[in-house]
Symmetry: C2
Subunit: 468 residues, 2 copies
Amino acid sequence: MSKPSIPQGTRDFSPQEVRKRQYIFDTLRQIFELCGFQPLETPAMENLTTLTGKYGEEGDRLIFKVLNNGLHEKKDGDKEKLAAEWDKMLSKPYSSPIVTERALRYDLTIPFARYVVMHQNDLAFPFRRYQMQPVWRADRPQKGRYREFWQCDADVVGSTSLINEAELLYIYQAAFKKLQVPVTIKINSRKLLAALAELCGMPEKMMDITIALDKLDKIGWIGVAKELQERGISDDGIWQIEKVINVKGTNAEKLVAFADMMQHSESGMAGINELSKTLEYYREIVSADKEMISGIAIDISLARGLNYYTGVIVEVVCAHPDVKMGSIGGGGRYDDLTGLFGLKGLSGVGVSFGIDRIYDVMDELKVFPAQLTTGSTALIINFGGENEIYALHILQHLRNAGIAVEIYPDVAKFDKQMKYANKRGFAYVLLPGDEEREKNMISIKDFNTGEQKMQSVEMCIKLLSVSK
Amino acid sequence: MSKPSIPQGTRDFSPQEVRKRQYIFDTLRQIFELCGFQPLETPAMENLTTLTGKYGEEGDRLIFKVLNNGLHEKKDGDKEKLAAEWDKMLSKPYSSPIVTERALRYDLTIPFARYVVMHQNDLAFPFRRYQMQPVWRADRPQKGRYREFWQCDADVVGSTSLINEAELLYIYQAAFKKLQVPVTIKINSRKLLAALAELCGMPEKMMDITIALDKLDKIGWIGVAKELQERGISDDGIWQIEKVINVKGTNAEKLVAFADMMQHSESGMAGINELSKTLEYYREIVSADKEMISGIAIDISLARGLNYYTGVIVEVVCAHPDVKMGSIGGGGRYDDLTGLFGLKGLSGVGVSFGIDRIYDVMDELKVFPAQLTTGSTALIINFGGENEIYALHILQHLRNAGIAVEIYPDVAKFDKQMKYANKRGFAYVLLPGDEEREKNMISIKDFNTGEQKMQSVEMCIKLLSVSK
């Protein structure tokens, strides 16, 4: 028998990991629900036709396709077709519906759009939904990149109000505050990027400028300038861009400076207005709370992908100096997502949380609540016979008081039971022996201090209630 | 563009459905954690070799296999092999690893066994785990049977103590009490079924007797007797079986009667002892609480599948007279599950919850908490201008008090906003107009009574806190 293993790029989550991940999910869910976002779940498998052609050629390559069942039970004629289709699949990027009609979800965005279109007559718009589910991609696995990973998205569709953008900023800030992860939220508008291209006198070069600027963090201005040149931006254009990205100051100061530079660009003024209004709404939502306002910074080099977004865009990075990690969240305004499935003109705005990276950051910052580690607070040692029965009564008393506690089920040697307690990492061990049973009390051993003390069951409940 | 749809046998879960399902999952999670069970999550995809050969021929047919990626990018020699393997797959039940090396999880049991074997050196035994994840089967979809459905399992491996059986009974009772689903838990031992075959003088016929008896609920004794005859049980044997299944009374009375009938069967006496000890432990755990004890009934016709279980077996059915539904949970003791992956002699016992059926029963009994329906408690109407800003302040006040509330993001016509509120089913609508803003108050419209009243924000918080 070969040693069992799991597919490359997938993970088992141990009890500790599940609890910590659950803590993140629960925290986000609470905030989403508080803000009127509604949960949605879609199936792991979608029709392959729902997914193909939505993620570009590279994306299509990474979709996990599910083989149709019962192939060998087909009729001879069908088998001939299956063989021919297989031949075609081996020769080019193509998927035959008689070979594979289903595929695993590649993201949560397309299933969401598909859902909205299917249920457009039942839904109340604006529709705010959140969704936290795994997605699958046949990417080459590497550190921090998995073939099964979780996405967590919150979107509002059917409203163009910038209150939505402001509410999503609030959700980000509230969530990361609750999770104890210090963050900077970069904010920009795709309209300013368009205006930048206009400033260079090359509106058709917006994508080139965006792609180059996106690398500012990584390669610095010299590198970006070189790439801009290679992409055919004139020297004057590059100089215009440099002036804009060199604008420093508060968000308000930046907006004033941009307005000065872009006063002749319709797109630029629309972008400035959009950012200014979003930040104003946000300020009102948080009642000008300084802690909630600080950490939101206009960054004109922020690009966020290429074809998707049309208005405000945001990106979240961890602001802790010791943490080296890319973005842990991002999103923005898009138009016409549901147009892909025939429902035109539904504007939307959304953000996503990078669950795996947030987990890693929280682990590094040690901000997960301690009790997530063990689960149960205490182990009750099983001395057998009458003491076993007494132990079961103690067990029930504690559980009725809401204290998570286990009994060692077998009457094993004391050492073996203590070894188990140690390996599991319990804070306390309870020892219901003869004396304890006769006195109707219980001895508690504190695993940190090594101290042991006989107490009433009521005192024991009090002690464990505090420490859980 | 064709109308979007989802694969047959899969489901989208609407906000209301997700919340209700989440309520079930959260309730179960709480009880598992209270009882020291630890969460585990395994990947959706397993290596195909991990799954095949574990579920019988019929099971293997129903496994969803995932196509390997990058087929058309292979070298010519590999493509020839791929074509040959495909040919083989079309001619017989066979899966080539170069065509499909991964498959979707078929249940949670095999992945659990695989996990335990992989982590045997790190785990503290006895290992108690719970797992709540979807599984996939290419079954023919029909009412109540899906191709993607959720399983929820709790198991203890590495302990033979019957305290485990008793704890799992407690988990069932505590869970269904919390979920407000009245249940009967049938309990039996596979050893008694073996003894029944011995009573007939045909120990080798245990499976035949089990299969026939399993149908008692459906076809009655006459039907069972007929099937027993067809399966080669002698008339005397059938009469012996009839005597045993006709034993009525309390659990204690049944055990006495069985002991009398099976006194010469080692297996029978072991089964009786097992049931008696399990019920005794359970009685101690629940401190002889009558409500918790009632509803657990020994049922010697309970069979629970064929090859898997070796000791105590249980099955849960809804006890409400109006609910017609098969079992909503079941489980039992098994030996050597991990033997499949090379780790011998690890006894285990587990139960599972039928999430989809429990959901249906709870819906029918109307026992889901009412607030799961809408999510947010109130909608704040957006009158625009200064009133919009005032509305944002109200919004924040309420959220800070933990009240889930939404603002209509756009300055739309009043009728449109009220129509939205109605469709979403809010209990209250808040109306921050000129007068309210000037007086620093808020009008609340109760959607049930139609009443509208202007109040202080503090009073509004009090009112909504009670009703949420």
